[in-house]
Symmetry: C2
Subunit: 315 residues, 2 copies
């Protein structure tokens, strides 16, 4: 009999990652680019090939896929998929047609929370909040040992908690959402505005050299004491801390894990969020919670996806 | 053999309510005043007598008690109990000593959510949010059919979601919490400030006549088109709607039930919250949620308490 395996896929705006789980061992993560292939059909073809490749000859018991936006827990179709600009793509059905194996789909931040729960800091932790801090801000909540999904699988949208109703416009149409105040795109928006206004900052030099103005560049300028960059980053971290404190008051988790690209900012991020929770948290909530950076780098999503595949076969 | 019963107690700042459940039938709710008896020992004596009275000769299987503030789920002791001004009172232990039966304790908003789940609008509903709108603002969350308690039983504190960091001081020490913007005490604070500033409003007449300036009076003045009262109520309802929308985005419930004294405001409250969720909710979240007023008046807490007692004996 052929060896059995599970495959996890993390479908992102720029990269598709895939990993195999066989004999309780997680394999090497493979990647292919998503960019430039805007037709869902082409990307789904690529994903099907990638699944077969990472399975490496083992028989696939099931596939789990993590993807941005809202994922219907019953149909596994993807409505409103942020960076991918997909709407109502029947991802589960399309992949099952190509692969002839069962597929389960989940929102990427929820999957990343599951990845933390199976391979990260929150193994054995019943009540925690995972934040995916990237271009946008997503969240996954575990409560009583289970992923909190809500009635239609859309729970965890901490990025669209409105903290400043008169604040900047968000991609969702509201104003002053956490994501519009502290997400990667908001930080870049503020940096671009500062350059446009002719403020004195090292960011001008970057822009003049044609170097990419990304969050990493702004964070580095802030670290080297550029006043403009510091203000942008401090403001974003203030709002992020406030959003986390609000969620901590509502959910009373024992752990908050900060993941996603922005978490590479490290200590300044960690300290800002810890300070905010100490300041704005209710007594019991702030005393019972730890705030940590994810140790899984950008693998939480794909590890959660493969765990999703594994669990779908047990239940 | 004597008939078995469960007794539920709702310990509030002004009243203690008690009810019996026997043969699947809920009895008449009895009340005694809490006011003027500030020693926890005296109040606990009163409660013990009340329990015996409502049991009406039946053998008490267990007692459930709902109380304000943070309730330790393991020890059943009450730390930080808002209006009661109790700190670290071992309520469960003290009542068990007096009654010689098992006692379970829960935060009043969480108990009220359980009351809604057993006797109110949310019977059979797995994912819902209950708001207790009174002097303060409390909340109880059901997720996947279970009361969301968090790691230390303190989940649901929607009243201390900070929505305006530069806003008015809250009783918890932070600024701009939902409760400090939209709770009963915030509405009265704003009305008193308007009178003190000599603004033209019918509220002046009330104050001059020595009539109580309560939320009901301000809401009635608003309904009769008093501009000052209208502004106070509209502002409070704006913030309340925003807080509910944020919680809806995070939790994706299928139902939000508005309970507590302020819910007697009726349609203006309901419409304001529905409008806010329609405006600020994410697509899936706003499409899948209904917003309703509690039908249990101020009985949700005591009904939840007796359900708590019943469940404690089943598990």
């Amino acid at each position: 009999m052929r060896k059995l395996c599970y495959v996890g896929i993390d479908l992102g705006g720029t990269t598709v990652k895939a990993v195999r789980l066989a004999d309780d061992e997680v394999g090497v993560v493979e990647r292919i680019p998503t960019l430039g292939r805007e037709s869902p059909g082409r990307i789904l073809d690529d994903i099907a090939h990638l699944v077969t490749k990472v399975a490496a000859g083992a028989s696939i018991a099931s596939v789990g896929i993590a993807m941005p936006g809202l994922v219907d827990p019953v149909t596994g179709s993807n409505s409103f998929a942020g960076n991918l600009r997909w709407r109502d793509v029947a991802v589960r059905e399309e992949l099952e047609k190509r692969l002839k194996v069962p597929v389960v789909a989940e929102n990427d931040a929820n999957a990343a929370a599951l990845g933390e729960h199976s391979h990260g800091l929150t193994v054995g932790v019943s009540d925690f909040l995972f934040l995916s801090l990237g271009t946008g801000i997503g969240g996954g909540v575990f409560a009583g040992g289970h992923l909190l999904s809500g009635c239609r699988g859309a729970a965890g949208e901490i990025g669209h908690m409105i903290l400043s109703p008169q604040g900047p416009r968000c991609s969702c149409g509201s104003n002053g959402c956490l994501e519009a105040l502290a997400g990667g795109w908001a930080i870049i928006r503020d940096a671009q505005a500062a350059i446009k206004q002719g403020q004195e900052t090292v960011l001008n030099r970057l822009a003049a050299c044609g170097e990419p103005l990304d969050v990493k560049a702004v964070a580095e300028a802030a670290r080297s004491n550029d006043a403009v960059a510091r203000e942008i980053i401090c403001r974003a971290l203030f709002w992020l801390g406030l959003g986390v404190a609000n969620a901590v008051n509502l959910l009373n988790p024992s752990l908050v894990v900060l993941g996603g690209g922005l978490s590479l900012m490290g200590d300044p991020l960690l300290e800002a969020v810890r300070d905010a929770v100490a300041t704005y948290g209710m007594p019991t909530q702030r005393e019972s919670v730890r705030i940590e950076l994810s140790q899984l780098k950008d693998y939480a999503g794909v590890l959660g996806a493969v765990e999703l595949a594994r669990r779908s076969q047990i239940i």
